[in-house]
């Protein structure tokens, strides 16, 4: 019908009581600001904490578990097939840790469109010889380029260069804790003994710090070929293939698929790190709950102010109705008032929320366990802004709906007679 007229009247009513309007809008602005800030900060923190583990964890890991063979001879024999066999003291078999046919598996993964990438890995248990004592440690053989691309390996290198382990032969990157124990500087040559008793010397080209101290005290990295040499194995010897998927949610089902397809054990990230998922979803839930509570409180503020406005404007409503405005028109006027408070306050809240999160983003936040983090983490996810403005409109329209309905039901006769 006559929208511009409705809007015009609503605007005049709003501006006539601009202080009340402002207070209502400030309520919305405040809650949206806090909603955005809270969610951005919380999501930033979540991402950081999850990233600590999840970024470095493959979505699916292919490996051969050292475990007793599930197919024991007695169970296979025809004679005892039907009976229940008790076998004690089973030992893990001599099955190899190597992934069979790793080259073909990697080719198959390359062609799989669901896979973002993979990186081969093998590990060797060693003793670092530091004078009289030996310190146990693990050398991981990795493909530095792929490892950096898929698992952010480079981010954790605090000194030296990650790519050096692929360029400099017989080189190693030490965990910060391990380097401190060994008093090893960059450029030093380390002596180490493999589990089989062979001695090697490797050159230190960098340090890495993962944020998990126990991890940094034992882990070190070298190129795949260096570790193959340590183990005395040929160039196709790989014990792990780490796979990163395009969609993490598919990991459990794909792990099962790979397990049968490649005849290796496959572990998905959800199984390996279930607790992180739970932690972040609960944190997110709490921040949404707080944010929405703030909005509902603001909604009550708007409800109150509109209710008051309606009592004040009874005469005006009566005369509008007497001169030909229907109840519906009156309702639309008040809903428009509520929505414009919500929209105006909400948009302002988005800006303030962005501002406040930027401020938080500038606050220094240094911790030894998180070398790459310099300031508080903030996630500027546009979805929060969208949710914020939608919620502000929803709460204000609810807050406006009831007073507006009341206004539409005002009986002009009662008001006019009442005088």
């Amino acid at each position: 019908m006559n929208n511009s007229l409705i809007i015009n009247i609503a605007r005049s009513l709003l501006l006539a009581r601009w202080r009340q309007t402002l207070i209502a809008a400030i309520g919305v602005t405040f809650s949206i600001t806090m909603f955005i800030t809270l969610l951005s900060f919380m999501a930033g923190l979540n991402k950081l904490l999850d990233g600590l583990i999840l970024n470095r964890t493959p979505h699916i890991r292919l490996f051969n578990e050292v475990q007793p063979n599930s197919l024991q001879p007695i169970n296979e024999s025809k004679e005892y097939k039907t009976s229940y066999n008790f076998i004690s003291s089973i030992k893990s078999g001599g099955s190899r840790q190597e992934i069979y046919n790793s080259g073909a598996i990697m080719n198959a993964l390359k062609k799989d469109s669901r896979v973002l990438g993979y990186s081969p890995k093998l590990t060797a248990q060693v003793f670092f010889n530091d004078g009289a004592i030996d310190i146990t440690g693990i050398v991981n053989g990795i493909d530095v380029l792929e490892e950096s691309r898929l698992f952010h390996f480079k981010d954790y290198i605090t000194e030296g260069s990650a790519t050096d382990i692929s360029k400099v032969s017989n080189s190693i990157i030490l965990g910060k804790g391990l380097a401190e124990k060994l008093l090893a500087d960059i450029g030093d040559v380390l002596q180490l003994t493999t589990a089989k008793g062979e001695q090697f010397s490797l050159k230190v080209v960098g340090y890495f710090q993962s944020g998990v101290q126990d991890f940094d005290k034992v882990q070190s990295y070298a190129s795949v070929s260096t570790v193959q040499k340590l183990l005395g194995k040929p160039g196709n010897y790989i014990t792990d293939i780490q796979i990163r998927l395009k969609d993490m949610a598919m990991a459990p089902s794909m792990a099962k698929e790979f397990e049968t397809k490649f005849e290796a054990d496959a572990e998905d990230i959800q199984t390996a790190n279930a607790q992180f998922e739970t932690g972040s979803s609960i944190r997110t839930l709490i921040s949404y709950a707080v944010g929405i509570t703030l909005l509902i409180v603001a909604g009550f503020g708007i409800y109150n102010i509109l209710n008051m406005m309606i009592y004040e404007k009874m005469d005006s409503i009566a005369i509008l109705k007497a001169t030909g405005f229907s109840g519906n028109d009156v309702k639309r006027i008040f809903i428009f008032i509520a929505l414009s408070i919500g929209l105006f306050g909400g948009i302002l809240g988005l800006f303030f929320g962005f501002g406040l999160s930027s401020v938080i983003d500038q606050i220094p936040f240094k911790t030894a366990s998180l070398p790459t983090i310099k300031t508080y983490p903030v996630d500027y996810n546009p979805a929060f802004y969208l949710i914020g403005i939608i919620f502000s409109l929803i709460t204000t329209s609810f807050a406006g709906w009831f007073p507006a309905r009341k206004a539409s039901k005002v009986d002009p006769v009662e008001i006019i007679r009442g005088k």
Partner: protein, 226 residues
């Protein structure tokens, strides 16, 4: 035969709360075009109640109401609002201008609502009405900054904006001093004489009523003389 603007047929009305009280009993009359009718009676005789029924604002009654030969009884609220907008002009005892708007805007609002003319045209028409009532100087003043007599004239201008079939007044002079009531009467008189405007005014001011063309006198919810 003169054109009938308003017909009331067997209108009964009673209040139910807290006990049933019969307010109007079998009201029958009609108003023809160009008539200047006043409804008089003592306080509580039901004359205002009758006016609100005739104005379509009160729909809780028995009987039939025809405006412009169209039956109003039983119509939807939105329809009735449109009829009020288009065919009825109101002048109340208390002026009921919208204080948020200027005088001109107050006069324009029902016109804008009707949406028959463009905004510019409605403004032009509103100015003409104000000029006719000799208050064009007030056009841009805020509605709450003018005197009572002026407010009543603005209300009349507002009632006229859509060229209604009938103007209804509920004690339009009840709150005004002698000078201002005379002025309002003059305006009403001019409207019937010059523009053939139909008027139905509820009043208890005997001297006002005597000067109108026709008096409907009420007592205890009944028309006693017509």
């Amino acid at each position: 035969m003169t054109e009938l603007i308003l017909q009331a047929k067997h209108i009964y009305k009673s209040f139910h709360d807290p006990i049933k009280v019969q307010v109007l009993t079998d009201i029958n009359f009609s108003v023809s075009k160009g008539e200047f009718v006043s409804v008089t009676g003592k306080s509580g005789c039901g004359k205002s109640t009758l006016l609100y029924i005739l104005s379509t604002m009160d729909t809780d009654y028995e009987g039939e109401l025809l405006i412009d030969n169209i039956l109003m009884t039983g119509k939807k609220e939105a329809m009735l609002a449109r009829v009020r907008n288009e065919k009825i002009g109101f002048v109340f005892q208390f002026h009921y201008l919208l204080n948020e708007f200027s005088v001109l805007k107050n006069v324009m609002l029902p016109g804008l609502k009707l949406n028959k003319f463009s905004a510019a045209e409605v403004e032009h028409r509103a100015m003409e009405k104000l000029k006719m009532l000799d208050i064009e100087k007030l056009a841009l003043k805020n509605a709450n900054l003018i005197s009572g007599g002026e407010k009543q004239r603005v209300a009349i201008a507002r009632a006229l904006i859509n060229d209604p079939h009938i103007i209804m007044g509920d004690e339009p002079t009840g709150n005004l001093d002698k000078k201002n009531s005379d002025k309002v009467f003059e305006i009403f008189n001019r409207l019937t004489n010059e523009f053939n405007q139909t008027l139905l005014i509820v009043t208890h001011d005997q001297s006002f009523a005597e000067r109108t063309h026709r008096i409907i006198e009420m007592e205890d919810g009944k028309v006693i003389s017509n």
